[in-house]
Symmetry: none
Subunit: 411 residues, 2 copies
């Protein structure tokens, strides 16, 4: 089974947008055992897209197109592919209902061009868009399957994972099953993880081990080819055990759609514990990250953003003399913030974040210097970090480090 | 001048590496006034690369290849292109000297395969590699120019900027400059913006107008071709004025790297005003968003995350009876949160966020129902929104709506 991916969008050819959709789809198709032979990008130009379609139709069994499904006249993918395969466009009933519901709820007037987003090939299968309005389309011609997906990653990813992937799995079953398992690690860099596992990654062919670095974490995707699920799981278990023997202390959870905050919120729920925070450096980002998780309200009642020194005194009742003596980027301040926040809110645990986001120094300390305090019923500790790169990365690193401190404390 | 970019590397087709080289080169070629019509990616496979070269040679004037210049047998770009254009490979004198010097300095033995990295087409121009060993190549055939660059971005970027770019500028001087301007809009959907500007977008060829939807905002990129900068700016000014006549009320700023929070923080600084917030629904995300901007501390001292009802009473001193009577997702609660937060912190403005992030209902109100309160010295108002989609989107929409309310109030 030969597949290729065509991204449609002038913004990619201008270098304004990186083609991460091709990366995502490639990874997912590999997971299905479908090999990708080519990526292409073409602008919002019907003649050039048709040209590319002719080439792709001839050389591939599956052509995945992303982008150009929106409401404007720039969005031409559907029209060009429909013409190429000789299909009429008709309105998709379910998609139209969603569209109407959206505009009713948003109390906005629907302009006629929005209807373009719910047109489908007369013999196509519609793929629902959970996070947007433009439906996706699957269509099988005599020789080639076409899959049309929306351009924004926030729409493409859920559509692929929840609708396109199961469909491809059903339409194109590969003789051996491919089973994947994603292991997530925090606290170890990709190159270090890979060098510690070098032997294993080198020797190992089934399952394969693919490392992938994300901001502040690394995942390993184990993919096994096996005649049945039981055999596949057994092989995955063995490889997982071998990996954990080397780097198990950094492992925190499973799954592509998991996250450190999801693991932490679940753990707090299980242990029936609550958390609060006092944030300077991160200015609310830790608390907002917890609240990403539905059900966070069960473990989190509220907390403080104390960006300026005087608000640390006022909201957290920290002694002005302490801040004067040690400064706000200090062990003493981090401890006082966590201790007092825990007491005021009445939570089991409290984290505090104080440091230098940059780009400038603060109190003579370099950008990236961060103290994280952790208060529980029995003790108050503070931990010093030196993060690198830009402001956004320093703050994200601090949030992740705080989540990990909390996870280890609650465990 | 039609250009295209071919990246060679199986790791890209497996989704292990993102093709950021194509993005970088596209941006740089646009800067030279050279238009990029296609990107392609192909694996380390001679037959498929030759196939792609035939297509590219026919349709483009300049073909940029990246990757596959290294020492291993996987690295086949040079051989395949040399064969395609009928050139012999010979050793590049300067490249060989650098290679020898490297191994002498590193005190490592040079294996013979390293010599592959300094081979050049007999009629090619060598491009020095400042950060690696594989030289780049420029070669002009009767119909098409080929530019071969190394795959690692740390080698490709300096080679392009310091050697390839000046060479392309000299070989292919463009009479016209390309100048871009990005306009940013909040509060209007892409489809509505485009339908209001339909005539303009349709008629307009220089500058072109390209809409692009981001979560909760839309940008328009105007790109003009002009013989000189003054003429270009004049044309851009005219088109911008015509656009603003239609949708000016939604315009909030310029530039690809700008944002609503950056505009708001700058505006508060200019007006010498301060802001605080009390966040329920958004749980710190509004305050964290402000702090994305370096210098936010000048206008933001701190605030509250009051996720649970009892913390609204405790931290914000809101009357329990009020919350009992109206509920937390209410105009009364939003107003009380903003009013009290402003007073406690001592800020000029305060925003409050309370609502239903979802997926479940709250107090009988649907997911997506959001009240945003705004308190200033002279008045306290509250604004009702009905956002759609998932939890993350509802919260992001609320943060953006709050920023826009504040921007309009301060203006």
């Amino acid at each position: 089974m030969k597949a290729e991916i065509i991204a449609v969008g002038t913004e990619i050819l201008l270098g304004q947008v990186v083609n991460t959709n091709a990366t995502f789809i490639s990874e997912e198709l590999a997971d299905l055992g479908i090999e990708v032979y080519y990526h292409s990008v073409v602008g919002d130009n019907p003649a050039r897209l048709e040209n590319l379609l002719q080439i792709a139709d001839e050389r591939s069994d599956l052509v995945v197109l992303c982008g150009g499904l929106g409401p404007t006249t720039d969005d031409l993918t559907k029209d060009v592919v429909a013409k190429h395969v000789g299909q009429n466009l008709v309105e998709d009933y379910a998609g139209r209902k969603e569209l109407d519901a959206f505009f009713t709820k948003a109390k906005r007037e629907m302009t006629p061009n929005n209807l373009r987003q719910v047109l489908i090939f007369e013999d196509g299968i519609a793929l629902p868009n959970e996070t947007g309005l433009a439906i996706g389309i699957f269509y099988q011609s005599a020789t080639t399957a076409f899959l049309l997906l929306p351009g924004p990653p926030s729409e493409l990813r859920p559509m692929f994972l929840h609708h396109a992937k199961p469909l491809l799995e059903e339409k194109f079953p590969q003789t051996d099953q491919l089973i994947s398992r994603v292991l997530r690690f925090y606290g170890i860099g990709e190159s270090k993880l890979v060098s510690q596992l070098a032997d294993l990654i080198e020797k190992q062919t089934n399952p394969t081990i693919a490392p992938y670095a994300k901001p502040n974490e690394v995942t390993l995707r184990l993919t096994v080819k096996a005649p049945d699920k039981a055999m596949g799981m057994k092989l995955l278990d063995e490889t997982e055990a071998a990996i954990k023997k080397e780097v198990g202390e950094y492992f925190y959870g499973y799954g592509e759609e998991n996250s450190l905050e999801a693991v932490v919120v679940k753990l707090l729920q299980e242990k029936n514990c609550s958390i609060t925070a006092a944030e300077s450096l991160t200015a609310g980002q830790f608390q907002a990250t917890l609240a990403n998780i539905s059900g966070a309200s069960k473990v989190f009642a509220g907390g403080f953003v104390t960006y300026a020194k005087e608000q640390k005194e006022k909201l957290l009742q920290i002694d002005a003399a302490l801040l004067q003596e040690y400064g706000v980027v200090s062990e003493a301040c981090a401890k006082a913030m966590a201790k007092n926040a825990r007491k005021i809110i009445g939570a089991d645990y409290a984290l505090s974040f104080t440091g230098v986001a940059g780009p400038d120094e603060l109190e003579g300390q370099a950008a990236g210097t961060v103290w994280i305090g952790l208060a529980s019923e029995t003790e108050v500790t503070a931990h010093l970090y030196h993060f690198t790169r830009d402001r956004a990365y320093v703050r994200h690193s601090a949030v992740m480090a705080g989540l990990d401190l909390l996870r280890r404390a609650v465990l």
